[in-house]
Amino acid sequence: MVAIIDYGVGNLFSLVSSFRAIGKEATATSDPEVIRSADRIILPGVGAFEDAAKKLSLSGLGELVVEMAATGKPIMGICLGMQLLFERSFEYGEHLGLALIPGEVRSIKEVIPNDYKVPHIGWNALHFGKEKNELFKYLSEGDFVYFVHSFYATKCENSVIAEAEYGAMLTAAVAKNNVYGCQFHPEKSGEVGLNILRAFCEIGGSK
């Protein structure tokens, strides 16, 4: 079972539906027992970093995610959920994340040309570099996924497993051991996105 952590940030309807569509049981929950018993965990999120980090911390769910990461259970952060995996974010101030992956989150404005629109919104191609992570085993170089974001992860070179070009190369996905993160929305990226979730469910053998 996949536990989608419900900490009051964002819309979990599509995430639950997409796991169901690939035949995997999923539940949106804030119950620590359910999260502990899940065989994999999704940390979702849309909106502002500070607000989300606060909610994770106050609910104790942030701590639980860190605890679960140490058990080796596959965990995936999506969009803001991915950004929360890093050490800190500079979105309106400086805020601490869960520090499961070294790196920080900064405005894309710092790296993209002035005439590019912010947020980076729409379908963009994934580039995997030399090696393709097992998360993308069903994908081909250049497959398109759906992005909506104004901030991006940086100083995380060792963890980057995919990038997207938007006037600059932006971190699209990261992995460190059993912890994964996608800046884009697999649950909104059609068949390509479902194939990423499928691969995520098969990491470490499907249960």
Partner: protein, 252 residues
């Protein structure tokens, strides 16, 4: 490289998809779930559902249908029609919408854009504007394009973006249903004053109209249409092949 988006729009009334020509004389086309799935499987980058139902029974029916669409289709969904309050945002977001489009509701209460952007983020709030030329100026029309608000369209759009609208759908009443191409002049005027994504709507009659749109206006991000897609006059996959031939980046 970010791609240009092709977006079919489904006007839904009493649970069925309809399309008005110049907003008058509706004709039944198909089921929202069937049509949505068809588009999602055949190259649509996003779907827009407008609820044009007036009754509360129809509204409840729309919400049920939206849930059904959102649990079977995994591309971005924008929902509009009858969005007047934050509760309306909440209602459609809970059913799986990713973005909510406001039109008359924001004209009546411009604070709605700011409040919704604050609660759900800019990326969630789409300002949809029906524009028509009146005495040489671009004017905002309300209530499905029937009522002249007297407001200047460029000023209204600028204000909407400043309040937090994350995207603009620009529908030209002058070109809507005429199928002679998008309103390049109006879209150009708007793209010069805003920095958020612009979705062009109204007037697409052929693939060439989309090529013209993206070639002439590189700042336009997406093209939206209804009847030419619903009646199969233009197939999205064919359209995308044509766009690629014309060096316009799209997702295939």
């Amino acid at each position: 490289m970010i791609t240009k988006r092709i977006i079919p729009c489904l006007d839904v009334k009493d649970g069925r998809v309809v399309k008005g020509v110049n907003f008058m004389g509706l004709s039944d086309v198909s089921s929202p779930v069937t049509l949505g799935k068809y588009y999602s499987d055949n190259g649509a980058d996003e779907l827009v559902f407008y609820d044009i139902t007036a009754s509360s029974e129809g509204r409840a029916l729309f919400t049920d249908i939206l849930k059904e669409v959102a649990s079977t289709i995994f591309i971005p969904l924008t929902v509009g029609g009858g969005i007047n309050t934050l509760d309306d945002f909440d209602r459609v977001l809970k059913c799986g919408a990713d973005k909510v489009s406001v039109n008359s509701g924001a004209i009546r209460n411009p604070g709605l854009i700011y409040e919704a952007a604050k609660r759900y983020g800019d990326q969630c709030v789409v300002l949809s504007v029906d524009v028509k030329r009146v005495e040489g100026a671009f004017r905002v029309f309300a209530k499905g394009g029937r009522v002249d608000t007297g407001m200047d369209a460029l000023e209204w759009i600028k204000r909407g973006v400043d309040s937090g609208a994350g995207e603009i759908v620009l529908n030209s009443i002058d070109t809507d249903g005429v199928k002679r191409g998008f309103d390049i002049e109006m879209l150009d005027a708007v793209s010069k004053i805003v920095s958020v994504p612009i979705i062009a709507s109204g007037g697409a009659g052929s693939m060439a109209d989309f090529v013209e749109l993206f070639n002439k206006l590189p700042k336009v991000d997406a093209g939206l249409a209804a009847s030419i897609f619903h009646f199969g006059e233009v197939k999205i996959n064919d359209l995308k092949k044509t766009l690629i031939k014309n060096s316009i980046p799209v997702r295939i």
